[in-house]
């Protein structure tokens, strides 16, 4: 029974689950070479070469010590096509207070102009200091933040942190706050805000 259900579950998400072993120990997801271009939702590696993988304790310590640049790359809630006009549609993005939200900046492939804008914004936010602490996050099992961190590693940033627990890990311990999408990121292209 369980096996049949498993197969049923796997059918729709075969790629996503290809590297996964039993449910409670999603281990051995290898790091891809460079940016991950597969499904953006799924088990992620435990490591990121060139970056520090941090938990909430380490994030708390880092924030207290180094005032890192906090980069949230979560997707924006997408308004369903044809959603009735007479019902309230009020997406609110809750995140780590002080974070800069560039929605879906961890996508791959990413339009080169968007990638350039992402890097430009990070350069601005770090004061062009590639040694400044930076933390990328989105949600658990979200490759976007892994990719965003990887992009910065590939650009020579030396203190990149990846916080895989993401917003959920943060809100286990701390309040979240509603943040708007980074204005420059939203303005960068007409398709930026809604995917």
């Amino acid at each position: 029974m369980r096996h049949r259900l498993l197969r049923l579950a796997v059918a729709g998400t075969a790629l996503l689950l290809a590297a996964a072993s039993p449910a409670d120990s999603p281990v051995n997801v290898p790091e891809p070479d460079g940016i991950w271009t597969g499904p953006q939702r799924g088990y992620t590696p435990a490591t990121l070469a060139g970056a520090n993988v941090i938990d909430i304790d380490a994030l708390d310590a880092l924030i207290a010590r180094d005032r890192p640049v906090l980069l949230d790359v979560s997707l924006a809630d997408r308004r369903p096509a044809g959603f009735p006009d007479d019902r309230p549609w009020l997406p609110a993005h809750r995140s780590v207070p002080g974070a800069v939200w560039m929605a879906n900046a961890g996508a791959a492939p990413l339009d080169p102009a968007r990638e350039a804008l992402f890097l430009k914004r990070v350069a601005e936010l770090t004061g062009s200091d590639k040694g400044r602490a930076v933390v990328a996050f989105c949600h658990p099992e979200c490759w976007g933040s892994w990719n965003a961190a990887k992009r910065l590693v590939l650009q020579g940033y030396t203190r990149v942190h990846w916080f895989p627990e993401g917003i959920e890990g943060w809100q286990e311990r701390h309040p979240t706050t509603v943040i708007p999408e980074d204005a420059a990121w939203s303005a960068g292209t007409g398709v930026g805000a809604q995917r």
Binding site: R2, A23, P80, P88, P140, E141, E172
Partner: protein, 283 residues
């Protein structure tokens, strides 16, 4: 500790949910260990959001707080954010005309509006919803004399609106519109508890196919009308916040007569109608 469920578990749950929705409704999910502390989110911000939602749904109508007219029960920490069981209890049921369910932090917060007819026992409603983020859930009751009263409950769950179902869309749509209606054992003079189960993926429009990266178009039950004989029982106006394969528990007046007719429609002009025979109490 990781708050989110591993994808595989979610997929299996989703598969289980589709495979056995009718057998396991209401018993499959139990709150996991509850942590009372940690709800330290910005109260003022949450209140401001509720005021905004309140205005968009109820305009300037006054809503008084209540401890007695309606109560929301939900797991403080939901096992599966795409399938969060909610119980609305309305002890002074004869005063209640309707109840509104609002999930504040869902992008589409207005989850359901249930209007009771003379065939209903309005004491309790149960349904299963998607929760996008740690959120207040508000229940607003409307009394027969037109007053509004609200209560709220904070629920910890995350990602429910966009969680993929873990199967192909075709698979998820199999048997769409099939229904079952189950009754608890009838007792003379007591309201009859009924459980309506509708097979329908209730696609939120926020679920991305992980392979193609397309969003599955929203397809959700937007209205369920239940009548018994010539009496209205209840009408539910629903939304993408209702979980896939909707399950609704409600009460029937014991004196009701005639077959129970359920008409469900979705936002893509789907329409399904089924008739059921209610049990009669025997001494």
């Amino acid at each position: 500790m990781r708050p989110a469920r591993p994808v595989l578990v979610r997929s299996v749950l989703a598969a289980l949910t589709l495979a056995l929705p009718l057998a396991s409704a209401g018993t499959a999910l139990r709150p996991s260990a509850v942590h009372a502390a940690g709800a330290s989110d910005d109260e003022a911000e949450r209140l401001a959001r509720w005021k905004e939602i309140q205005k968009s749904i109820f305009g300037d109508r006054r809503i008084a707080p209540t401890d007695s007219l309606v109560k929301v029960d939900a797991p403080v920490r939901a096992m599966d954010a795409a399938l969060v069981p909610i119980t609305l209890t309305m002890p002074e049921k004869d005063r209640i005309a309707a109840v509104h369910l609002v999930i504040d932090d869902n992008p589409s917060p207005y989850a359901a509006h249930i209007t009771f007819g003379p065939g209903a026992d309005a004491g309790e409603i149960k349904l299963r919803v998607r929760v996008n983020n740690y959120t207040n859930i508000h229940a607003v009751v409307e009394t027969k004399d037109g007053q509004l009263f609200e209560t709220t409950k904070f629920v910890k769950a995350s990602g429910g609106c966009s969680a993929p179902m873990g199967m192909s869309d075709e698979e998820a749509m199999k048997g769409m519109g099939d229904m079952k209606l189950r009754f608890a054992e009838a007792q003379p003079g007591r309201p009859v508890e009924a459980t309506l189960m509708i097979r329908h993926p209730n696609f939120s429009g926020m679920q991305m196919n992980q392979i193609t990266r397309d969003y599955t178009p929203a397809r959700y039950i937007n209205k369920v009308a239940i009548t018994r004989g010539d009496q209205a029982v209840l009408t539910l106006d629903g939304d993408i916040s209702i979980a896939s394969n909707p399950v609704i528990n409600f009460g029937l007046q014991p004196a009701g007569q005639g077959p129970i007719r359920v008409v469900a429609t979705d936002n893509q002009n789907g329409r399904w109608e089924h008739s059921f025979t209610a049990p009669s109490a025997t001494n």
